[in-house]
Structure formats: structure tokens, C-alpha cells
């Protein structure tokens, strides 16, 4: 904008100075800003690079951290697609005629995830797996008029904290179901007859639940949490009758990004779709009778329904959903190979622990992650491993397992990486 433009605009408005446009702001609420001066782009870039260099990313560090966020390979095509300005800077597709591309991409996200989960309906995304669970529990309570949710004891403590913040305000209480101390799977005797139950597979300790049909039989509303990559080898939750499915979608081509933004996946049966929170995209037709896409069932949403909406969610994680769409399109049936490599690497990783006399803490089946008990305190172990450039896993002290560690792998680890981990283990533990 040139100075002449500004002058012409002020004249058109009928004021002589920009400050007159703020004449309606009373003096007693005026307040300036105490911030450092603007930074030139060249200085800003250097500053940001310096800050980034104070972090040591995974890559330079050999990482076995997981617990919901994993270092899977991200095909470059995914990042290029998600970097397209048309996806990047658009907003919620309120005007379908101007937004067919984003609408179709999200429709494909819903469709691909529905295929993967073997569920009828997937919404256009939630913020992350934990908030998707919070919303799922509220949805389950609307469906069943229940006011208690049973959750597994083998669950991340941060997920329970988020859940409390979604369930307490709806008057829903949380009961924990213990796990079998040998197998690591859910103790079937603790599963309620009727009511709402949340099950996670693999659970937070990396153990695959193997009695899902029996759990399905017992409860009224079954919510299942999954790792989407594990569905390359494991049975999908629609296959054992889940009513609602939630997932942390980050493994589907989304950077770890220090834990955000992530991708909240939420699926349901068609029967309960009107109780679902969040946006939904539908295939429809235009006035010429040709195929088109649009947001639908908006009367569930806050901008129409206000205080009677199914949720307050407005902005969701659309671009992360585009990443998930692009990821599943690129890998396709190759998801099976990725999941099998995770399985193989986990087996190799277990061997490294066995070589120093440590067996997995639980006898159940595992996917890409398992728990072991350390012969020394976590902090000491972790520091020694870090000295060797290795992030060995997550401390499970907060989950009632002192001196236990959750170790994860992905398809990215090579045999050499895992041997390097084993060598470091030997130095630290033997």
C-alpha cells in the first residue's frame, strides 16, 4: 500500500489520520505494547535457525520414543501436497463452490479412514487422539444416557487428564479396569456388564488386546482406540463391532512437531452419526446434476446450533487430515509392509533386551512397542543412554510402573540402528 493510497482511503473515510478511526476507544482503556522492535526477515531467519539448533531432533538422536507419537517415514509427496497454498491458506469450506478441492480431499480422508477402520463414518478430524476420546465419551453418554465410562488402567496418564476435562463437565465419572499383570491385557472380570467402555489396542504398555469379542459382548457402547499403522496387520475395530473408534492419527504422515499439531481421528457407526461432534463432508450433486462435495449435517454444529450443538469444535485439524489422506493414498496396500517392518523391528529390539537378560514385562502380543523393567532407576538409565546418543523410551513411573520403560520402533530403524541400541544397552546395564 502506497502513502498516496492510504491518503486516498483516509479521505474516502472522511478522516485525516488513522488515529481518528480509534476515537471510539476510551482513554482509560488505552494501552501500548512493550515489545522489541521488528526483525528484518534475514535476522528473523537466523534467529529461528539458532533456536532450532538448540534442539536435537530425532535423526541425530537415535530414538525409541513412542507412546502415541511415532517417527514413521513421511513420504515427501505428503509434505508437498500439504504445502500447496490452496490447501494451506484456505479456511473451513463454508462456500462449497469455492472449495471443491478441499472438500473432496476431506471426503477422501473420511472414506480412506472408514475403510481402514472398517467403520461407516469418520468425521473431518478432531484436534488429537486424546480430545477425540474426550468427545467420544461424551457422544457415548448422549447415545446411551450413561454417566460412567470404564477405561483401561493401562492408559497414558495425560490421556486420562484430558478425558477428565471433557467428561467431568458432562457429569460422567471414570472407572478404571485393571489389567492382567502377566499378560498386560485387560482383565475381563473388570469389564462391566452394560455401560460405556473404552478399550485401547495396542494399549499404552504396547500390548494387543486379544479378547475384544468378549468385551464387545459385555458392554453397551464400545469405544476403541487404535494405532492406525497397526491396522496394516491387526483386525480393524469395525470387525469386532466397535460403536465409536478414536485414534491418534499422527503416524499417518504427520511430523512429530514436539507433540502438535496432531490428528484426532473419530469414527462411528452410521446409526449414531447425528450424535457425532465436528464437521462432516458429503458427496452430493450440483445444480447441473454433476458430482460435488459439501459440508453436511451442520445442524449438529456450533455455528448453527449454538448452545445445543454436539460440541463447540469449529476449527479442526483439516490440513493434518489432508496429510493423512495423502499418506494413505501414497502407501496404499503397502501399509501392510510398513506394519510388518514395525513387527520385525520390535522382535529384533526385544532380542537386544534379552541379550542383557531382560524379558518384556508382559507376555501378551505386541505390535511396535513393549514395556521392560529396568534394573536401575529410569533417570540414570536415560541419562547414560543419552550420553550415547540414544533416546531409549518413555518413563512409565506415572502409570504405576516404576523403573519401567516403554520402548517403540518404526519401519525407519535399520538393523544397524537396533544393534547400536543393543551395544549401548550392554554398556549401560552390564
Amino acid at each position: 500500500m502506497t502513502q498516496e493510497d492510504v491518503r486516498a482511503m483516509l479521505e474516502a473515510v472522511g478522516v485525516s489520520d488513522i488515529s481518528e478511526l480509534f476515537s471510539d476507544v476510551p482513554e482509560d482503556v488505552r494501552a501500548g505494547l512493550d515489545l522489541p522492535g521488528p526483525m528484518a526477515e534475514v535476522d528473523l531467519h537466523r534467529h529461528l535457525e539458532d533456536l532450532a539448533s538448540l534442539n536435537t531432533p530425532v535423526g541425530p538422536l537415535l530414538s525409541f520414543l513412542g507412546g502415541g507419537v511415532y517417527d514413521h517415514h513421511i513420504p515427501p509427496a505428503v509434505m508437498e501436497i500439504a504445502s500447496r497454498a490452496e490447501f494451506l491458506s484456505a479456511y473451513t469450506p463454508y462456500q462449497p463452490e469455492m472449495s471443491q478441492g478441499m472438500l473432496q480431499a476431506i471426503f477422501e480422508y473420511q472414506s480412506l479412514l472408514a475403510r481402514l477402520l472398517k467403520m461407516d463414518v469418520v468425521n473431518a478430524s478432531m484436534y488429537d487422539g486424546a480430545t477425540a476420546l474426550g468427545e467420544a465419551v461424551r457422544m457415548a453418554a448422549r447415545i446411551s444416557r450413561g454417566d460412567v465410562v470404564h477405561i483401561p488402567e493401562a492408559i497414558a496418564p495425560w490421556k486420562v487428564s484430558v478425558l477428565h476435562n471433557y467428561s467431568d463437565t458432562a457429569g460422567i465419572s471414570i472407572e478404571k479396569v485393571p489389567y492382567d499383570r502377566t499378560m498386560g491385557t485387560l482383565d475381563l472380570d473388570g469389564v462391566p456388564e452394560g455401560g460405556i467402555m473404552y478399550v485401547e489396542t495396542p494399549n499404552y504398555f504396547g500390548v494387543i488386546e486379544d479378547k475384544l469379542d468378549a468385551i464387545r459382548e459385555k458392554v453397551d457402547v464400545l469405544i476403541v482406540g487404535v494405532n492406525p499403522i497397526s491396522l496394516g496387520v491387526l483386525k480393524a475395530p469395525g470387525g469386532y463391532g466397535a460403536d465409536i473408534v478414536v485414534a491418534e492419527g499422527q503416524p499417518l504422515g504427520i511430523p512429530m512437531g514436539f507433540g502438535g499439531p496432531l490428528l484426532g481421528v473419530m469414527a462411528s457407526t452410521k446409526k449414531h452419526v447425528r450424535q457425532m461432534p465436528g464437521r462432516l463432508i458429503a458427496m452430493t450433486q450440483n445444480s447441473d446434476g454433476n458430482r460435488a462435495f459439501t459440508m453436511t449435517l451442520q445442524t449438529r454444529e456450533q455455528h448453527i446450533r449454538r448452545h445445543r450443538a454436539t460440541s463447540n469444535i469449529c476449527t479442526n485439524h483439516g490440513l493434518c487430515a489432508v496429510m493423512g489422506t495423502a499418506y494413505l493414498s501414497v502407501v496404499g496396500p503397502g501399509l501392510v509392509d510398513i506394519a510388518e517392518r514395525c513387527l520385525d523391528n520390535r522382535a529384533l529390539l526385544e532380542e537386544q533386551f534379552k541379550a542383557v537378560g531382560i524379558e518384556p514385562a508382559f507376555d501378551g502380543h505386541h505390535f511396535n512397542e513393549f514395556t521392560v523393567r529396568l534394573p536401575m532407576p529410569f533417570d540414570e538409565f536415560s541419562a547414560e543412554m543419552l550420553n550415547r546418543g540414544v533416546l531409549p523410551g518413555i518413563d512409565l513411573d506415572g502409570s504405576g510402573l516404576a523403573d519401567h520403560i516403554l520402548v517403540a520402533t518404526t519401519e525407519k530403524h535399520t538393523a544397524a540402528d537396533i544393534e547400536r541400541f543393543g551395544a549401548a544397552l550392554k554398556e549401560v546395564l552390564v
Binding site: V6, L88, L112, E301, N316, V330, L391
Partner: protein
């Protein structure tokens, strides 16, 4: 200029059609048969995937392709320095459970961003955890609830003006409150008498945005704050409209106790076709003890995350918020620094210039001076049988995204227009010319708009058939 705009339109099939027959596969070993599943995903080459999504992207309007004046959404240009910063491996490839010593840059950035947002909001402390504006609102109300409960009070009502964003009442209801809506006064601002009437010892908070959704500054905000506080309630600032006031005033200076910021609006981070956004929350001192964990603190020159906050409400996200969005907002604020006031000044100038240009084209109820956005009424067009919806669709033909329409509800046939500071005069003039032209166009033509982009999409057909996935569509 009518008809010059062309958005790409391909007869682009879905991934299920491009990939041909899908290819059902299952694992070969290592998993017991009872646990084993099958994968049924389309099989595309990378070449097919790239062509497909590039074509889809070309069928989508964005800020780079043209004006995007969605009111209350602040669709400004997203600076590419910010976008670039989030791709640095030192930010993008760190795991949330890494030891603090390996993420000092990330924690330092977040610490500084908290301080900068506290300064902009006039607040004591900030949490960066909420993922979006609506979640910021929810977090804010959880803080307010915790505060009242800590004082032994169980207040069960939240008051919102009738012009409030839809998220305000939805959030209040979700947080377990009864929602009390107060009508606006004749000048479009809060009716102070109606507010005082509604306030009681049951009121937990008043949720307000200032300027309000008509773009009008609530000049009696100090009196509003006084009345709210006298009733023992707290005052919540919906930061959706913060782009209007930076460097002029602050929520803290106006008497607000809790503020949420929309980093994807005010601080130029990309909207991503519907997110991810970021909705940090700032609070005054008396609410600080309740902020979500972990808190970023500094111990011996080292940034650490602390869960040791006894009165905290706990967590609202898996980890620390949408970190890569925080990086972008940090870059935006650093690049403007003490000149942020110019952002607001230009946003307000652009809005008022458009108001002047559109004077006499369509009425603008509730007076003249606006902040960053304004609301026109399409009511006079009704006698020709033309609705605001038709005008919105027709704007698409001319290369403009529609304004926010039918909101706020107190304006009939509303068109809520927010130009932002990053549009130039030529663009504003072109938009004003387009709207001026449209209102005098043939009504029958308008009802058939758009014609230059996708033909009008049938939303009734969508709701009736509920083809929410490819497989559901194939079943019918």
C-alpha cells in the same frame, strides 16, 4: 471485471476410482490368526497421487488466489518466513517426550511466546496448550470454574451477548453451564441494563468480544467489567477480533480476566482448510494457579516443564499444544514486534475504507465507525427475490470468496466482511465494484450463480443421502 475469474474444474475421480480395483492384503506372519486383519486400500502410483491432489488443490480458493473476506476469520496473508520456520528439523522432528536438555530451543521459544502474548493481552500468564479458539474458550471456562470452586462457589450460568460467536454459547454449554443470552442495545453494543438484570450470584462469567461481531467497539467496556466483577463473576475475552486493537488497547486494560488468542487469525498462521489453529489462553494473576500442566519454567538457566501445579485443571491436549503453529506465530510476532499496532491500524483502515466504498450499496445497520470488520444487510434485495446467499455465490464468479453470511443473527440477511491489513486498495476497490455491480444485476441470473466456478452445490441432497464416505455412496 465480471467473468474474468477462472477456477480450475476437473472431472476428477476419487482415489478409489483412480486406483482401479483395490487390492486386499493381509499380513503374512508374526500375528496370531485371531488378531489378523485385512487392508483394503486403493493402489496408486506416486505420479497418480500427485496429479490427483494437485488437481484438487487447483479447485480450491485460497488467500493467494484471491480476496477472502470471511468475517471474524481474519484471512490475512500468511508470511512465508513463518511457514518455513515450522519445517526446520529442529522444530518438526522432535518428540514430545525428549529430555529437556535436547529441546531447549523449543521450550525457550514457547516461554518467550507466552511472555509476548501476555504483553499483547495485558495478562499475567499464558498457556499455549489449547488447539484452537473454541478449545481456548473451553479451557478458559474450565479455569473460571476452578476459580469459583476454589472460592467455595458453584456458579452455574454464563452470559453471552446475542451477537456472540456460536462457539461461545456452545462452549459454555459444553462446560456444563446454563447459557443466558442478553440482547444488544439499539446501537449494537451490549445493553448494560439488560446485562445488569442478568448478572447474579449464579453468574460465572460474561463472554465478550471487543470489538464485537458487528465490528463495533464496546465503548462502555469499563462499566461492563465493573458490573460483572461486582456480581462476583469473571470477564472472558473472545480473542477472535483481536486483530482490531493491538497497540491501541489490551483485554487486560479493559478489565478482562481471561483471554483466548487465535494464532491462526491475528498472528498469520495458515488456516489449513479448517485448521490446525492454536488458541492460547491468558489470565490475570488470580487465575494463574489453575492453568493447565505442564507449565514452562526456568531453573538454573534451563527451561523445564513442570507438572507440580497443585490447583491446575490438568491437561486439554496430549502434549504442549500445536507447537508448529506456535513456531509460526512466534515468527509473526517477532517480525512485527513493536510495530504490531500498524497491523491493527491497517486492518481497521481497510475495513472502514470498504464501508465508505459500499455506502449506499447495501445498508449497514448500527452506525458508521467500525474496527476490523463490518456487517451489511442484504435485506433490501429481498423484494427482488434475491438473498444474501445468492450474492455470496455470485461473488465467487468474480474471484472473491464470500463474506461470512447470516451472522450475526441480529442483522437480517447479514454479510460480515473482514478485509484484514494485507489487502491493498486495488483489491478492496475491485471487491467494492463487484458487490456494487451484483446488487443491480438481474435477479434471475443471481439465483443461478455461480456459473464461473462450480455450479451451485445441493446441500439438501447431501443431507438427505448422507453419502459420507465413498463406500456409503456406492451402497445406494
Amino acid at each position: 471485471m465480471t467473468g474474468q475469474y477462472r477456477m480450475a474444474r476437473y472431472d476428477e475421480g476419487t482415489v478409489f476410482e483412480i486406483g482401479g480395483e483395490s487390492h486386499v492384503r493381509s499380513a503374512t506372519g508374526h500375528i496370531p490368526d485371531g488378531l489378523k486383519g485385512t487392508v483394503d486400500l486403493p493402489d496408486l502410483t506416486e505420479a497418480e497421487v500427485m496429479r490427483h491432489y494437485v488437481r484438487l488443490s487447483q479447485m480450491n480458493h485460497c488467500v493467494e488466489s484471491g480476496f477472502y473476506p470471511l468475517g471474524s476469520c481474519t484471512m490475512k496473508h500468511n508470511p512465508r518466513s513463518s511457514v518455513w520456520a515450522a519445517t526446520l528439523p529442529g522444530f518438526a522432528s522432535i518428540h514430545p517426550e525428549q529430555p529437556f536438555s535436547t529441546v531447549q530451543g523449543a521450550l525457550g521459544l514457547m516461554y518467550e511466546l507466552e511472555r509476548m502474548l501476555a504483553e499483547i493481552g495485558g495478562m499475567k500468564a499464558v498457556t499455549l496448550q489449547p488447539a484452537a479458539g473454541a478449545q481456548g474458550e473451553y479451557t478458559g471456562l474450565l479455569l473460571i470454574k476452578a476459580y469459583h470452586e476454589a472460592n467455595g462457589e458453584s456458579r452455574d450460568q454464563v452470559i453471552v451477548p446475542d451477537t456472540a460467536h456460536g462457539t461461545n454459547p456452545a462452549t459454555a454449554a459444553m462446560a456444563g453451564y446454563d447459557v443466558i443470552e442478553v440482547p444488544s442495545a439499539d446501537d449494537g453494543t451490549v445493553d448494560l441494563d439488560a446485562l445488569k438484570e442478568a448478572l447474579s450470584d449464579r453468574t460465572a462469567a460474561l463472554m465478550l468480544t471487543n470489538p464485537n461481531t458487528l465490528g463495533i467497539f464496546e465503548g462502555r467496556v469499563t462499566e461492563i467489567a465493573k458490573a460483572v466483577h461486582e456480581s462476583g463473576a469473571l470477564l472472558y475475552y473472545d480473542g477472535a477480533n483481536l486483530n482490531a486493537i493491538m497497540g491501541i488497547t489490551k483485554p487486560g486494560a479493559m478489565g478482562f480476566d481471561v483471554v483466548h488468542f487465535n494464532l491462526h487469525k491475528t498472528f498469520g498462521t495458515p488456516h489449513g482448510g479448517g485448521g490446525p489453529g492454536s488458541g492460547p489462553v491468558g489470565v490475570v494473576e488470580r487465575l494463574e494457579p489453575f492453568l493447565p500442566v505442564p507449565r514452562i519454567t526456568r531453573e538454573n538457566d534451563m527451561f523445564v516443564l513442570s507438572d507440580d501445579v497443585p490447583a491446575s485443571i490438568g491437561k486439554v491436549q496430549s502434549f504442549y499444544g500445536n507447537f508448529l503453529v506456535l513456531v509460526r506465530a512466534y515468527a509473526f510476532i517477532k517480525s512485527h514486534g513493536s510495530s504490531l499496532q500498524e497491523v491493527s491500524e491497517m486492518a481497521v483502515l481497510n475495513a472502514n475504507y470498504l464501508v465508505a466504498r459500499l455506502n449506499g450499496v447495501l445498508p449497514m445497520p448500527y452506525g458508521k465507525l467500525r474496527k476490523h470488520e463490518f456487517v451489511l444487510s442484504g435485506e433490501p434485495l429481498k423484494e427482488k427475490g434475491v438473498k444474501t446467499l445468492d450474492v455470496a455465490k455470485r461473488l465467487g464468479d468474480m474471484g472473491f470468496h464470500a463474506p461470512t453470511i447470516y451472522f450475526p443473527h441480529i442483522v437480517e440477511e447479514a454479510m460480515m466482511i473482514e478485509p484484514t491489513e494485507t489487502e491493498d486498495k486495488a483489491t478492496l476497490d475491485a471487491f467494492a465494484d463487484a458487490l456494487t455491480c451484483i446488487v443491480s444485476e438481474d435477479p434471475e441470473g443471481l439465483k443461478c450463480a455461480p456459473t464461473e466456478v462450480e455450479a451451485r452445490v445441493d446441500e439438501v441432497f447431501a443431507a438427505k443421502n448422507m453419502w459420507l464416505t465413498w463406500d456409503l455412496a456406492q451402497q445406494d
